[in-house]
Amino acid sequence: MTPMWYIVLAAVLFSIGAVGVLVRRNAIVLFMCVELMLNAANLALVTFSRINGTLDGQIMAFFAMVVAAAEVVIGLAIIMLIFRTRRSASVDDANLLKY
């Protein structure tokens, strides 16, 4: 089994996440799509680590996970804040700022 397939899988996951952010409405789902993209990047890092024969990629994946965790904290706090006021997490409802 060639590791290149994992790169293809990572690219597919990344694209699903990227498209998901563009088409979905709920802030939480949007956020999950971003997490999917980050995890696709992790998969790519680990696979390239295997292909290249160096450990750097795996270590980078750990860094990416920690950063993603920090991002979750901030992100959910902001989404909660909006939800409490508006009783909705839809990004279409947050439309006071425009043009």
Binding site: F31, A40, S49, A70, G75
Partner: protein
């Protein structure tokens, strides 16, 4: 036993000071009584910025020990990094002064408890009498420390971590406005979602570049790209994704859509901080990636980035014309300025670098002064940022209207202001670098952009003040200092730019 890499502590001292001060700031929040907190936090963070500045200046003055790659190859402290760190510290110092202003309204521009639901009884209570939040100082310090790391990162992983370290506190700061809290929260949500989206692109780019170059430090990327073995598509795609992440942060079109919303919704001191410091940090990172990491590609990407630069200057200028809110107008002007800076980046060479470094400082100081002035024009609902409200302000308060006119002229690039010198050096460098077509776009955009600025000037001076014309509050010491520093710098850099241009010229050198 793991052997730790050697650390050049003198080189990374500014970073250590700022991260340490930010952590201590959180403790101050826990232990200092509420009434004394604002002044303690303000003085403490200003002291930390000054201390960091001392180390940066000391190092920059020491010719023999100027360059260092340290922390296991993660951080480069070279002349360009020192210049950028120094300018970030200066810009942050001035913006922190606006953060600390408490005389304009009780508790300042920040809400005491952001978690309280908007419109609830508790919210009305805290709007009326509570002191403002002081967590903003540690947050700003964390963000600033991340920016200092970002411009000194020597590999893409450090760059990614630094990008998040400086972005995450900014998302929070955006949500902390005392007035118009719904707008502020919405701005934070938009900034956060789009920022996280962009950084995911950045990380995937890092992965692809790692796949190509077998390492993520800029020297290895440079060598691998220069050799050009293997699947070059990986490298090009990786660079493209990295560029999306970075161009989002500098607010280049078509990745600029967050800028107006976030600039308008965020508390104005935070907007000033973002407009000046984020721009400087993001461009610092961008030039390092392009000049140090991907130089080996032989600047094949110039046409693509050139198209983005041309699009950015035009989009920023044209949309600025249609704006009716001052903060949004300045946001679109900041988009256009990102385009001018990109033109400088693409000019390449020593001259291009020098012009970008000069531009970042000149623009940063002017934009901070402009936002400082916007905090002063207020009515019962807080800041009155709608353009129509500024009509007739010249009759109400000639001094402040005069200063704002001067700042707008600087944005428009009228001679004897820093804006003129900055644009001149960027466009000059671009002509020298063979990018004349970009300069043509730049000049057209500047002409279009002069119109919205002049419209504000005409409105301020030639309209009669009406019933609804807000008053200009007398600023406290802090805002006056920020406003004064920004305005005087705009004038001095316009009349005698030699000193800073010289500094930027000496600083325009990377090590690999």
């Amino acid at each position: 036993m793991v052997k730790l890499p050697p650390m050049d502590y003198a080189a990374i001292m500014p970073l250590l000071i700022l991260f340490g001060a930010a952590c201590l700031g959180v403790l101050i929040e826990a232990f200092v009584p509420r009434r004394a907190r604002n002044i303690t936090q303000l003085l403490f963070s200003l002291a930390a910025v000054i201390a960091a500045m001392v180390f940066v200046v000391k190092r920059a003055g020491n010719v023999t020990a100027a360059n260092a790659i340290t922390a296991g190859g993660a951080i480069t402290i070279d002349k360009a990094a020192l210049f950028l760190q120094g300018s970030l510290l200066v810009l942050a110092f001035v913006s922190l002064l606006i953060f600390g202003e408490r005389t304009l309204e009780q508790g300042g521009a920040f809400v005491a408890q952001a978690a309280v639901t908007v419109g609830s009884e508790k919210d009305k209570e805290q709007a009326a009498k509570s002191l403002g939040s002081t967590e903003v100082y540690p947050l700003a310090l964390f963000s600033l420390a991340g920016m200092l790391l970002f411009v000194a990162a020597n590999d893409l992983l450090t760059m990614f971590v630094a990008l998040e370290v400086f972005s995450l506190p900014l998302y929070l700061l955006c949500a902390l406005a005392r007035r118009k809290r719904l707008l502020s929260q919405e701005a934070a949500l938009k900034y956060f979602l789009l920022g996280a989206y962009a950084s995911a692109f950045f990380l995937f780019g890092v992965a692809l570049v790692y796949g190509y170059a077998k390492a993520v430090d800029f020297a290895s990327i440079h060598t691998a790209a220069a050799v050009g073995a293997g699947n070059i598509t990986l490298l090009i795609t990786g660079l493209g994704l990295l560029a999306i992440g970075l161009l989002f942060k500098v607010a280049a079109a078509p990745f600029h859509v967050w800028t107006p919303d976030v600039y308008q919704g965020a508390p104005t001191p935070v907007t000033a901080f973002m407009a000046a410091c984020t721009k400087a940090a993001a461009f610092g990172g961008l030039i390092r990636v392009l000049y140090v990491g991907f130089d080996g590609l032989g600047w094949q990407f110039t046409p693509v980035l050139g198209a983005i630069a041309a699009l950015t200057v035009m989009v920023g200028a044209v949309l600025a014309v249609t704006q009716t809110d001052l903060k949004r107008l300045l946001a679109y002007s900041s988009v256009a300025n990102a385009g001018y800076l990109l033109i400088g980046v693409l000019a390449g060479g020593q001259l291009g670098l020098q012009s970008v470094l000069f531009y970042l400082v000149a623009y940063g100081l002017t934009v901070i002064a402009a936002f400082a002035l916007i905090t002063l024009v207020r009515d019962a609902d807080g800041e009155a940022t709608h353009l129509s409200r500024w009509a007739g302000l010249g009759a109400r308060s000639p001094l402040f209207a005069g200063i704002f006119t001067f700042l707008l002229l600087a944005f428009a690039g009228i001679p004897l202001t820093s804006g003129f010198m900055a644009k001149l050096s960027v466009f000059g460098a671009a002509v020298d670098g063979g990018q004349t077509w970009l300069v043509i776009f730049g000049v057209i955009s500047s002409i279009i952009l002069a119109f919205p600025y002049l419209r504000v000037v005409v409105m301020m001076w030639l309209s009669e003040p009406g019933e609804s014309t807000p008053s200009v509050s007398l600023p406290g010491v802090l805002t006056s200092t920020a406003l004064g520093v920004g305005t005087i710098a705009t004038l001095v850099l316009g009349v005698a730019p030699g000193l800073l241009l010289d500094l930027a010229d000496k600083a325009a050198a990377f090590i690999r």
